[in-house]
């Protein structure tokens, strides 16, 4: 290990949300990621699906080019799975009983659906007075566009993030899964805050997250600039105003790139020296940060000629040693192979129930005394029916069998 900060006290082993239960009615990506974060922090997440309405990873995803079910779903990987048919009154009744033994409810239906099912915040508050409920939707639970359907790229479009992303002479650009998952991460942040408040005050809260507004949050600086000055930013590719070099450069090898950013004069001197190109320092085109920005395309050409002759790793090593910000453009393979990420536990090796080994993404934080952790594999649909309906809700085996036969547990 390189430089590191040692925890001053040993871990207590229990993660921070140990003992917290989440009734998870979310599907697709944004909502499930929210519950996944709570699960990594130690909450017991009970994922609710049905045979007729399974989560998207359980079926083909042809628009994405996946012609069968996924073999593993990261954002379901630390959850329990139950089947519960909300089209039946007894399904609704069981859902309420599940909420009654939970601390947090997560849902990502189209706004209005939970109300129609009799499971909106007011109804659930009547079941569990201090429940914290998080609703994740495209545009929020209120407003004239609350009913609009959407997926990640459309949140990015409506929220302006996709509009400002792309080459300066090209079209706007789709923001992909990271838009869903950043929505889920934001939802988890607000839910954790609401749960902390509940612990202190005893009062529950309804957290209403709008995915398009999460996208707006990523352009909050541009929105403020526009509101104050009337200047509307445009797409600028990899440029950052007044900073050059600031780009992604080709390296030796196929589709192999390195990101390099030089912001200050100190970094510029270190950069030129690391390249063993002192002439850059006397070149009038590059004499100041502003001049480097004006001549950034010429600078890019010079740098590309150098990076082309090196591997991404060599460029990174040389520049980081000089204190210059450079890092390879990592593929998924690079990520799972990276010693730093394996040392941190960001990447973990897991073995599935049938002996299949794979690399998975572990918790993204290190809490010294109450570590987060990734438990389990992707649950099979209904794998935890007996634990949840039997142990938690107190139904007998006969009652469970009857509910299965009646397609309530379905």
């Amino acid at each position: 290990m390189g430089p590191s900060e040692q925890a001053a006290k040993p871990a207590t082993a229990m993660p921070p949300l140990h003992g917290v239960r989440v009734a998870d009615f979310t599907l697709h990506a944004a909502g499930p990621f929210c519950a996944h974060i709570l699960g990594l922090l130690g909450a017991e997440c009970i994922k609710v699906e049905t045979v007729e309405r399974p989560d998207i990873f359980r079926k083909p995803h042809p628009v994405y080019g996946r012609m069968g079910a996924a073999t593993f779903d990261q954002v379901a990987s630390n959850k329990l799975s139950v089947q519960l048919n909300l089209k039946q009154p007894r399904g609704i009744e069981l859902a309420k009983r599940l909420v009654a033994v939970s601390d947090i409810v997560a849902e990502s239906f189209r706004p209005g659906v939970m109300e129609r099912l009799g499971l909106n915040y007011e109804a659930l508050k009547a079941v569990k007075r201090d429940i914290v409920m998080v609703s994740v939707s495209a545009s929020g639970q209120t407003g004239p566009e609350r009913g609009y359907a959407g997926y990640a790229p459309l949140f990015g479009a409506a929220g302006g993030l996709g509009t400002l992303t792309g080459y300066e002479d090209g079209p706007p650009t789709e923001i992909r899964h990271v838009m869903d998952h950043s929505t889920g991460l934001t939802a988890a942040m607000a839910t954790l805050a609401a749960y902390l408040r509940k612990k202190r005050t005893g009062a529950g809260q309804h957290v209403d997250v709008a995915a398009r507004d999460v996208a707006c949050g990523f352009i909050g600086d541009a929105l403020l600039q526009f509101a104050a000055t009337g200047i509307a930013l445009r797409r600028t590719g990899n440029d950052a105003p007044q900073i050059a070099p600031h780009n992604v450069y080709p390296c030796a090898g196929e589709d192999s790139w390195v990101s390099i950013v030089v912001s200050t004069d100190t970094e510029w001197r270190a950069f030129a020296n690391a390249l063993e190109r002192p002439a850059l320092l006397t070149d009038p085109r590059f004499a100041s940060a502003h001049m480097r920005w004006v001549h950034r395309r010429e600078l890019d050409t010079e740098i590309s000629a150098w990076t082309h002759a090196h591997t991404r790793e060599a460029v990174t090593r040389i520049l980081q040693a000089a204190g210059v910000s450079a890092f390879p453009s990592y593929t998924a393979q690079d990520i799972v192979d990276d010693p730093h990420l394996n040392a941190r536990g960001t990447i973990e090796s897991r073995v599935g129930p049938e002996g299949e080994a794979r690399k998975v993404v572990g918790p993204p934080w290190r809490l010294s005394r109450t570590p987060a952790k990734l438990d389990g594999w992707t649950p099979k649909l209904g794998e935890h029916n007996h634990y949840v309906f039997g142990q938690l809700l107190g139904l007998s085996d006969e009652e469970i069998e009857e509910l299965i036969a009646a397609r309530v547990i379905y």
Binding site: P16, V63, Q74, P153, F155, V248
Partner: protein
């Protein structure tokens, strides 16, 4: 939420020592959620982010980014190179529940900001460390800006897709606007920080090591999942087989139909043309195989359409469609107004300006921005004297010595 009735972090005090975007954003979100966040800057010009693009004013340079990241905070100055300055920081740490810091690991011991030193002095304090690659591991001392962490997290390599990639297949990957990766890092940090606050009564303070790279790998986890399925994703293989960005006569829309009924709605929206009524296209797998042909048809049709008409008519048919909105669209949108997404921020040179608050409501209420960012040290008197009980003569002396 002017009375902070619903603000979940009301009553918590956070000290923020942040030079970068990720840690500043963590402090910002805690402030917006009601915490008292005291930002500690070096005396003089304060944080370099105060002068970072995009700008509100050129002369003097006033940063929209800084104002966005620092609304709602208190501003003190304190020279951590001096023992007196470190002592002052320690005084506010003693009264706080959480400390946010993004000092590079190698510099921390000299400033007494390493985890053991802080734990020894403030055992009840949550130390939230926010660094590009975290505080431990072979890359802990690597330096990185937004572009670098975006590529370290894996999403950089995978952008762009769809129409942008088809238009420029040979260009280098393109970044997401602004400080996407760093804001992800800040959001992830708040999750971990609040989690540590949740158990503070039971276990006391602790060291929380947040890495912006880790946070981005976490939100980009589908690429790792796909790798486990035997698919190493790249820009070209990741595009949706059909749908995506469509150029209309007056702008762009995005469309994505993942469900059968959504596809059927799209066929209706296009006007039931013969090509779309081909029975073979009722099969989603066949649509996937013939995605390029479908896109050719959709793109030709979209060019004759107006954006607002398409979105309204499409959404009425349950087709997931959205306009690629610009800042003006967003500020003037009825949806933004109904949700109270923007709140007035009093900027000294520019007056009242609507500023983005937060992407969620709590109990049906939008969040508020309590105050705009002010000059470095503008709250020195309030914090060092009125809150901590030092007298103004001491403050004057510290100012004289450059400590604050």
């Amino acid at each position: 939420m002017s009375d902070l009735h619903n603000a979940p972090l009301a009553g918590f005090t956070v000290v923020e020592h942040a030079a970068g975007v990720a840690a500043s954003y963590a402090g910002r979100m805690m402030a917006v959620m009601g915490a008292t966040v005291i930002k500690v800057e070096p005396p003089g010009e304060g944080s370099a982010l105060r002068r970072a693009e995009p700008l509100l004013t050129q002369q003097p340079a006033a940063s929209a980014l800084f104002h966005y990241l620092n609304a709602g905070k208190r501003f003190v100055t304190c020279d951590l190179e001096s023992a007196q300055g470190r002592g002052l920081l320690s005084e506010i740490m003693e009264r706080a529940e959480l400390f946010i810091d993004d000092t590079p690991v190698s510099r921390r011991p000299a400033l007494q900001l390493d985890a053991p030193a802080i734990d020894a002095r403030h055992p009840q304090l949550v130390f939230l460390s926010v660094l590009p690659f975290g505080a431990a591991g072979p890359h802990a001392d690597y330096t990185a800006y937004e572009l670098n962490v975006f590529h370290a997290g894996g999403e950089g390599y995978l952008m762009p897709n769809g129409l942008t990639l088809e238009t420029f297949p040979e260009r280098p990957p393109v970044k997401i606007y602004g400080h996407f990766a760093e804001l992800i890092g800040g959001t992830s940090a708040v999750c971990a920080g609040i989690s540590a606050l949740l158990v503070r009564d039971q276990v006391g303070g602790q060291f929380v090591d947040v890495s912006v790279q880790d946070a981005n790998i976490s939100v980009g986890c589908f690429a790792i999942q796909r790798l486990g399925d035997g698919v190493l994703e790249n820009r070209h293989g990741r595009s949706f087989k059909y749908g995506g960005v469509l150029e209309c006569s007056d702008g762009y829309v995005g469309v994505l139909t993942l469900e059968q009924r959504q596809w059927e709605g799209l066929v209706k929206l296009v006007g039931d043309p013969e090509w779309a009524l081909d029975p073979a296209l009722r099969d989603p797998l066949e649509r996937s195989r013939r995605g390029a042909e479908i896109n050719r048809r959709l793109r030709a049709w979209a060019k004759t359409q107006r954006v607002d008409d398409l979105v309204k008519q499409g959404q009425a048919l349950s087709v997931p469609l959205a306009k690629y909105n610009g800042p003006l669209d967003i500020l003037e949108s009825e949806q933004s107004k109904a949700r109270g997404v923007f709140a007035p921020l009093e900027l000294s040179a520019l007056g009242s300006v609507p500023a983005f608050t937060a992407p969620f409501q709590l109990n049906g209420e939008a969040l508020a921005l309590t105050r705009a960012a002010v000059e470095p040290g503008a709250d020195n008197q309030a914090i060092w004297c009125e809150w901590l009980g030092h007298n103004t003569a001491e403050l004057a002396q510290w100012e004289h010595h450059g400590t604050v």
